[in-house]
């Protein structure tokens, strides 16, 4: 019984060690204004194959991504985020993608960003 438990523990610990090697981290800026944007940005990142975790900070506009370097590169993630309508620090969203955003999410519109500010 004890042996079984130790074996299981060993497997679990080694699996943590194993997965760690495939975890790269990156932080880059993504433009957006509200919680709906946050959901959209994170969803677009997570739907990119190879992305494991994505958290966007509404205040700082920073997107923190954990991904597998062997499966995906940063540019692909950025292009998927921009395809969802959000500008990143290097990839700009097409006017078509941006046009699909809800009115309240039009972050390029000064009026919208001002409304979200003060």
């Amino acid at each position: 019984m004890r042996l079984l438990k130790l074996t299981a523990l060993f497997i679990l610990i080694s699996s943590i060690g194993y997965t760690q090697n495939n975890n790269s981290k990156t932080i880059f800026e993504v433009d957006g204004v509200c919680r709906m944007c946050k959901k959209r940005i994170e969803k677009a990142s997570l739907k990119t194959k190879g992305v494991k975790s994505a958290i966007w900070n509404l205040e700082t506009h920073q997107l923190q991504v954990i991904f597998d370097e062997q499966k995906v590169d940063i540019e692909t993630i950025k292009s998927n985020v921009s395809a969802a309508g959000h500008d990143t620090n290097t990839a700009r969203a097409s006017n078509e993608a941006y046009g699909k955003l809800f009115k309240c999410c039009k972050y390029r519109d000064l009026k919208v960003t001002e409304e979200h500010k003060l």
Binding site: T19, E42, L46
Partner: protein, 746 residues
Amino acid sequence: MKYLLVILFFIPSLLIAQSRVMGKVIETAADGSVLPLMGANVIWEGSTVGTFSDENGDFILPYNTTYKTIIISYVGFTSKKIKIKDPSVFLKITLTRSDILEDVTVKARKKTTSVSYIASQNISTISSEELLKAACCNLSESFETNPSIDVNFSDAISATKQIKMLGLTSPYILITTENIPSVRGAAQAYGLSFVPGSWVESIQVTKGAGSVVNGFESITGQINAELVKPLTNPKLFVNLYGSLNGRLEMNTHINTRLSPHWNTGLYIHGNSRNETFDKNKDSFLDMPMAKQINLMNKWQYTNLQKGLIGFLNFRFLKDQKQTGQVEYNPSVHKFGSDIWGSEVDTKRFDFSGKFGYVNPEIPYQSLGIQLAYSLHEQQAYFGNRIYDINHKSVYSNLVYNSIISDTRHKIKTGLSLTHDSYREEVDVDNFNRNENSIGGFFEYSYDNLDNFNLTAGLRLDHHNLLGNFLTPRLHLRYAPWGKSALRFSIGRGKRAANIFAENQRLFASNRAINIQNNNGLIYDLDPEIAWNYGISLLQGFNLFERKADILIDFYRTDFKNQVVVDYETPTEINFYNLRGDSYANSLQLEFNYNPLYNLNFKTAFKHYDVKTRYNSGELQKPLTPRERFFANLSYELITTKNPGSWKFDATYNWIGRQRFPSTAQNPQAFQLAANSPPFSTLNAQITKVFSSQFEVYFGGENMTNYSQKNPILGAENPFGSNFDTTFVYGPIFGSMYYAGLRFRLN
């Protein structure tokens, strides 16, 4: 136009400026631009009164003169404290980014009772604030303001409260403290009264099959009591309580920080009742004389930089109850045949430990282990009947959390190992039993980050008496439209029925015990197996611009096998395995509404159909009301003239007719009606908060003064064959009033 709006916005706030504080939380970015902070936590120091800033960074907080300091915190930012001298001044609060992200803890404002819109399971959480609304006194009494749980007296002499969920008694509910199974086995009858109310931080009530992570035993649902933690509990907490029926309770908590990583707490509880009451003049005490000492020592280790957390708990309990006839004196009358009496002595030791590791680099990976040991010793006699039980239990559970490909797909997997040994003495017979089990589980959760999520779990267990078996559980949640949650669940549970521990009340009767032999492995009986199916709809909406929600749920528990507890022959109690159908259908309609800022209204209607095939035919489960109506109103009055606040809370219950077990074979004098009459009760409590440190409360239970007439059958001859204390459908003691105080020092 904009200015007009601003002015309009400020007018009402000027009129009530004294009772509110308003402000805005902002951040100055590196480039000097000013950004509003949404979701910053704003709270009055030393209170639970708080709010979040909205998307513009604005917030409004209720104010009274006892509140002095506002704390503003936000993940990733350094928290700020601001002294409020003039509440009418609009606050502009700038938070600055903190350098170390890991150091920040997230705090959320608690709604006192909340049903989740997001979780795949039907979970309602009862917060500590809600628990204070019914101040007395232990876990068995913590559900007075929650309609999902039904509370009733188990018998006419022990004053023990029994809980039910979905129409079934507590053995079918998995009751855990801090996710470790606790009220089970020998503790089944009185275990809930061994957890003092002040130790409970919050309670999570999950209806339906539950998660596979916590084992295979749960059938109707799970109740988890989260206990107070040394890190967050006040440095010193004292609670005193006294009631007119002679109950005195004392709670003291002392919490100390030993080092940046270690905190410890000592929790002392004592209660006693020395006075004797026999209001209904049946020569029996209406409630037992009792003494309890309950100690807990908790150690908490937190190291967020390294991602390590740990808890160590040690508990010791000594509980003594004496009940029976008023004149009963154990040293003179014990085991005699003149005066009937009973004593139940319990000693219990508990140890539990929890250790967790969260990879700080990869926050979605964690490993946790739970270990628990308990020793429960009960020595009891009821008249001339003896029931002793000794139960040793070991529980261990290893849980690993991670993801598959990304955080939309989460997994939990692990191993559990349990050991239980029971030594029972029942009248002149001994029953000894050892149970061992080893099991593995795997639970997968999917969340589409929008309107759908599911949790699917499977566990495989090997148990020396229950065999090898699979336990599947599935929970789905779908939001078809805004502010809604449609849920579905299905799951299987299997358990060994502890027939004596779970039906301990039978000893306070002269019923002969018959186990109808089935050549099973547990008291010659086979284990219980049941499937539970549930569907529920939660819909939130606005009514006159105030928040409201409606919850409808339907659950069915279908027994494939059951240990039937048959009280239908008045001089006997029969235990046998199910032959035929046994099911419990439960329908609940709930409506919650906040008509005013500080006024909260809850109401619920419940309908049960619980039927079992007995030897004498298919019958409704005895002493289970088919209908129940519940209403609760709570109001908080924050005045500007007087410091502090007043809290009012009232709960009304109407309990429908309940079937009495058949007494047709008794002589005419000992026959009861087929059903009990319906009755209603009213509980109310008023709390006066003087400051964040001190409050007093007083209240009444059963204020309509309802009591069951002749709760004990054959009370005039307790050694005769018709003596029976199990026909209890309602309160035995009429109205009861109490008062208490709480003192906190942070």
